[in-house]
């Protein structure tokens, strides 16, 4: 553990250095506060509005987690389907891979049209942002399962259930977690976009309102919180991956 902390020291020091440059630079070059506010002002604004920010943050986090959860279940099921059915492998899989080239952002207004201004349109956008990475990476994980291991298991009398539980699923887990980590990072962006397209609460709404009022300190505090949320969700997925795939560490 101490080695792990040690390896993270350079990047942490660099972040502190950047923060110092931000704080000193804005004072030194007299940057207008509505372009880049002083970092200390951002923290002051964050503290002053802590209750409001807390309420908005909970909304956004809830949307992100709910969307991520639905995507995880649906994406995994889609991957299982693609793995089991050769027809789905030939039709659905290429479509899902191809669909990743569509700028998903442009589909978001459709979600608002279909699901309205309530929480479901935000969750739909989050799903749009996260479903594909989980489905594609998990499907790739299933494909990467070593067929020789499967053949060997068959000579030992393995049935379909054994093959799925003891060979396919463990083989697919690394791919699944790659997808989950990406999805965790995307989910906050999806929730924020959903809120921008129309909503009553959430950090996306907060930053948009603050931006309309040219309150740069408030915009930046929202942006910092959203970034922190994305990082935390990613780290949670990373932690889960390390806990489940503990064999990789040793």
């Amino acid at each position: 553990m101490s080695g792990k902390i040690k390896s993270n020291v350079p990047v942490l020091l660099f972040v502190v250095l950047l923060a110092a440059i931000w704080e000193a630079g804005t004072s030194l070059f007299d940057v207008p506060h509505y372009i880049i506010p002083k970092l200390s002002d951002v923290f002051v604004s964050m503290w002053d509005n802590r209750q409001l920010l807390g309420k908005h943050a909970v909304t956004t986090l809830w949307e992100a987690l709910l969307g991520l959860g639905i995507s995880t279940v649906a994406g995994t099921l889609a991957a299982v389907w693609i793995d089991r059915s050769s027809l789905a492998k030939k039709t659905i899989y290429p479509l899902i891979v191809g669909s990743q080239t569509i700028p998903i952002i442009v589909l978001s207004p459709i979600m608002v049209m279909w699901f309205g201004y309530e929480i479901w349109s935000k969750i739909a956008v989050v799903i749009l942002f996260t479903f594909f990475s989980i489905a594609v990476n998990t499907a790739d994980g299933f494909r990467s399962a070593d067929p020789d291991i499967g053949a060997l298991m068959k000579t030992m009398g393995a049935g379909k259930r054994d093959l799925l539980l003891k060979w396919k699923i463990p083989s697919a887990l690394p791919g699944f977690f790659t997808g989950l980590k990406m999805a965790a990072a995307f989910s906050v962006g999806g929730a924020t976009l959903g809120e921008w397209l129309g909503g009553e609460s959430g950090l996306g709404v907060y930053t948009k309102r603050a931006s309309n009022m040219l309150r740069a300190d408030a915009v930046f505090s929202g942006v910092l919180l959203l970034s922190a949320m994305g990082i935390l969700l990613f780290l949670a997925a990373l932690w889960l991956e390390k806990a489940v795939l503990s064999y990789r560490r040793s």
Binding site: D146, D148, I149, A151, L152, M153, K154, T155, M156, G157, A158, D162, K166, W167, P170, L173, L245, Y247, S250
Partner: protein
């Protein structure tokens, strides 16, 4: 030789009759091939790469269905596919095929687990055999922490526990460096002396075939219609020193001459 006469009265461990196989749209790999392996015998099939050795093993292991012919394993008239379902065959593929997410203990226990043995009992039996196979203290390790030779030992132990009487070993040492290979060959000889299971061993290494086997079956031409046979009359137990014996050199000369003759086109000469 003693082993051969000892078991000659019993039913063969493996009997192949009139086996034919080809992949769709390709020339035959096997045509009307027949051969027997006796109980407790160690037989090598010596053949050049790409001639269909692994395909033959996949048929014997029940993973491929031959287009014609029968494969009888043990006394019962089982098709290969049925026998493999009953866990009568221990198949050790060329790659070690260890599961990276399982420890040595759980990798070795796979076959037992699949045949319905409780996890606890399976682990107990693995732990019992580990020291005898030179794997003591590795039970909590993962495959990536082991050397190539150690991984093959675990793979062999898994086949030993998972299978019954007949073992199919498909070039298990071909990916190892020369030093490790020699020590693994001696190791296999020791283990075989202890357990005396029937082993069918595929190799393209003349020395390996002679050192390990009671009989060497040579497949030289394609499609394979017959296997010519050489009895290895060296005394057992053997160690690598047997390779320095004049009798070994004599047998090697016979094998090489035969291989040379078939390669130069005069196929079908029995050694």
């Amino acid at each position: 030789m003693a082993d051969l006469t000892r078991s000659s009265q019993e039913a063969p461990a493996l009997s192949v009759r009139g086996l034919s196989f080809s992949f769709p749209g390709q020339p035959h790999l096997f045509k009307e091939l027949s051969f027997d392996i006796k109980q407790g015998e160690f037989v090598s099939i010596l053949a050049a790469s790409g001639i269909g050795k692994t395909t033959l093993f996949r048929m014997l292991a029940g993973l491929l269905i031959p287009q014609a012919g029968t494969i009888t394993i043990g006394t019962q008239e089982n098709s290969a596919a049925e026998a493999s379902k009953q866990g009568k065959i221990g198949y050790m593929p060329q790659k070690d095929c260890l599961m990276p997410w399982r420890t040595v203990l759980d990798n070795a226990a796979l076959g037992l687990e699949l045949s319905g043995t409780s996890k606890r009992e399976a682990r107990r039996r693995v732990l019992e055999l580990l020291p005898g196979l030179g794997l003591e203290g590795t039970e909590r390790k993962y495959p990536h922490e082991l050397s190539g030779g150690m991984r093959q030992r675990v793979s062999f132990l898994r086949s030993l526990l998972g299978g019954g009487e007949l073992f199919l070993l498909d070039e298990p040492f071909s990916a190892l460096d020369a030093m490790t290979r020699v020590s693994m060959q001696e190791w296999l000889l020791q283990v075989w002396e202890q357990h005396r299971k029937t082993i069918l061993f595929i190799t393209h290494d003349v020395d390996e075939a002679l050192l390990l086997s009671d009989r060497v079956l040579v497949a030289a031409e394609s499609p394979i219609t017959t296997l010519s046979e050489l009895n290895v009359t060296l005394p057992r137990p053997r160690s690598y020193e047997a390779a320095l014996d004049p009798a070994f050199i004599g047998l090697k000369r016979q094998l090489l001459e035969h291989l040379g003759r078939t390669v130069s086109g005069r196929a079908g000469v029995t050694v």
